[in-house]
Subunit: 220 residues, 2 copies
């Protein structure tokens, strides 16, 4: 049969390959073999390069698709520092987007330009969120708001990535929601504590750093 045009809900072959690739990358890392994706999708490897030009083409296509999808459902799921209550609420909806979440995690794990872009967007969103919260009075203002936003995002995402299995180890997509939930629950109390009650009992360290900083600023 030719391209299953509009049969009740089933996708075109291109879309099926794309979805399979996303799930494979999420499960086995970005270095998953083209043949593995093909076999998982029930097609030949040649067909994939016929549809996407090359392996890199498929990668780029999936990147764009997932990124657009994530931004559409403007979610801060990956950033526990931005909104703890939002995370709790959204953890129920995660199951539907497990492949997306897994794909993004794997992408970040692999690094590269797309990971940097995604991180930057996350930092921007967190920055705006923090600024609003500061104006609302729920978050304390910072001497370096941009650096603070980046630090918070890198803390959260970095810790999450550390929890992820190695780049070529398998990650079961069915258990990903439970896995994520267990991790956030283990982290929630220390994080809330850290964000509510200062870790250090006095400001001597901060004061010392601020004074040497000021000294080196006036006397370069």
């Amino acid at each position: 049969m030719r391209s299953a045009k509009a049969g009740s809900g089933d996708l075109t072959t291109r879309a099926r390959i794309r979805d399979t690739a996303i799930r494979c990358v999420a499960a086995d890392g970005v270095d998953v073999s083209l043949r593995a994706i093909a076999s998982e999708c029930g097609v030949s490897a040649s067909l994939i390069v016929h549809h996407f030009g090359s392996r890199a083409g498929l990668r780029a296509h999936c990147d764009r698709y997932v990124l657009d999808g994530i931004r559409e459902r403007k979610t801060a799921t990956l950033d526990p520092g931005a909104g703890a209550e939002a995370l709790l609420e959204q953890s129920a909806h995660i199951e539907r987007y497990a492949p997306f979440v897994g794909y993004v995690l794997r992408s970040l794990q692999a690094g590269g330009a797309s990971a940097t872009d995604f991180l930057d967007h996350l930092v921007d969103d967190t920055y705006d969120y923090l600024e609003k919260a500061v104006r609302a009075g729920t978050v304390r203002p910072s001497r370096a708001p941009a650096d603070r936003a980046r630090a918070l995002v890198e803390f959260s995402v970095g810790a999450l990535l550390l929890q992820l299995p190695g780049p070529d180890e398998h990650l079961d997509l069915d258990t990903l929601p439970a896995w994520l939930r267990a991790y956030t629950e283990r982290l929630m109390l220390p994080m809330l504590e850290l964000y509510t009650e200062p870790l250090l009992t006095d400001s001597s360290l901060l004061d010392a750093y601020l004074s040497v900083r000021e000294a080196s600023a006036t006397r370069p």
Copy 2:
């Protein structure tokens, strides 16, 4: 010539291969090819497997060597959360151990058992350090000290790893000290701020979490 036994300071071939491998892994990631290491060391690939049995053998040998070396110089360099002042002081000594630092970072990036072990050790050390600091009165006690120690380590190491180039991108070992220094300087102010002055202005989020936690504990 046979094995350069004890000529003025030059190492045995095994040791030379080991050191080269460590530097190669630090520079190009754990997936660096055996032939690349061999060529960098000026020997043949066969000689490496003759000395270490296999590629995995070389990897294991380097892991053990670097880990022992790091633990010998009991340094908390990788854990800014544990001691900010110690980090500042030690950043001058880092240049000598750049390959070691790079190797550990690449190992953590690659995940696996050795990375988990190293992280666990780091968590243990941080736990002890925090307990001592709590008893000394400089650090506030926690409701979950073990989880807090792990969270702090995962934050710091995770953020550092996020800054690292991708698993197969190159990392110049000569610029690593400066690279590390620039990163910590960008992070130092937000981190000290976060650890000294609470991010959140009130404890409503923490209180809410604690109450639902208590409720689910008494009524399972």
